[in-house]
Amino acid sequence: MNRELIGAVAADTDRRLHRLLDTRVNPGAAARDAAAAPLQAELLQEAARHGLFHCALPTNVCTGHGFAPVRWGLVLEHIGYRCTDLSFPLLVYLTAGTIRRLHHDQRTDLLEPLTDGGRLPLIGFAYTEQRDPFDFRGSLSRRGDTITVTTEKSIVAGARILDAFLTYVPDAQGRPTAVLLHRTDPGVSIAPLAVSGFRSAGFGTVRATDTAVPCDRIVDTDGLAHAQRILNAEAAFFVAAPTGRMRAIAEACAMHVAATERHDTPLADYPNVQSLLGRMHATVESCRATLYQALEAYGEDDSLWSPLSWIAKYTVGQHALTVAAMAQRLTGTQGFLDTSPCARHLRDFSGLLAGGNPQEKVEIDLGVHLTQTIRPTLREPGE
């Protein structure tokens, strides 16, 4: 990865967002987490007005200047580095990813009703039912130009904040169909959901009961492939901000041990502390390298099978919790205090294990993928 590009993206992101992050997002992070209070949608709109999404969205779509995957990943990483509330970049990632997906589907017409007055459409991804996707419950029936949808998605990030949701509902044959529902559609209701991490991301359960909408809200009749394209190819973007937060945590620990003494000796001079910091540093940089590899390869793979993107998600998911636990050890009782972000980081990072695509599932997919990749090379000579 080009270091000059990393620096340039960081400087540009700071220029656009430092005031918003320093005065609106970061100061309330601990209180929002404690109260499980959702971030205000207005913060995302303000970020959009400052040009946050310029490299996330295609030209002429909601202030986009053309999608640049490496640059967008670096923007998300830097937001994670600068922003102490990881729910904010989570919502940014979700909104940008779903809008881009609709653009890829040539369905930007669906964005227009949500852009009143130049607003950024705030769209989420409502997929999880805690059951196999081939057994999704609910129904979708069509009469004339109207479809009637009944569904319940149990865990939806941004449910209490976002304007609309890409959701997946079985049709008459039982095949999940991708449909866009607005929170204001008749029969749509949203119930708050208590979660242990990302508590200001407005998690909730989204229900639609006999919701009648125009049939052009159908985005893709192969909803499973549609959903997996978001879950697979976008996985690297999902972990970009947590990677930035890991780096911020490591740097905060280095500052902490330099400013703390034990037996009249700075903590930073103890070999065991130096060793732990070194492990933390190596872990963070390994995650960054894996993330950058995935960002640079974005678009090269089949969007349904993106091993490098899976590996980035998996690697950051595995190591983020380790880094947070190292921080807890390095900061001792100070890290245990409610004023410390340590516990919040641990809880937020635990969401990376299941979020996007569970770690164990990614392991299996990677193993199967490797086996199938290597198998043709295992033939006997001359075969």
């Binding site: 805690q130 196999d132 081939f134 095949r175 492939a225 959903a227 879950l231 599932k361 993928h369």
Partner: protein, 91 residues
């Protein structure tokens, strides 16, 4: 031919690892599979008869394109079906 189903799909074939069919083409083998396990039909195939994009098929280890399903196969051929799908259920 042998058909090997893995991952999330295995529950739809009663967790059998290998299924054997006497079929002249890949498509014919898959149709026999879906005839024995009808729930698989809507999972494997889209409404237009194409294999859903979420599945990958391999013939003797080589990836099969969706437009090669009608090519002839031999009795000792093996078809692998792999699927990358997120999701899970409570028992």
């Amino acid at each position: 031919m042998k058909i090997h189903v893995s991952g999330i799909l295995r529950k739809y074939v009663d967790y059998r690892k290998d299924l054997t069919y006497d079929a002249p083409t890949v498509r014919a083998g898959l149709e026999q599979l879906c005839s024995e396990y009808p729930q698989l039909a809507t999972i494997l195939f889209e409404g237009n008869g194409d294999i859903s994009a979420v599945h990958r098929l391999f013939l003797n280890g080589n990836r099969l394109a969706s437009d090669t399903l009608d090519e002839p196969t031999a009795a000792d051929d093996t078809i692998d079906i792999i699927t990358a799908i997120a999701g899970g259920s409570r028992r």
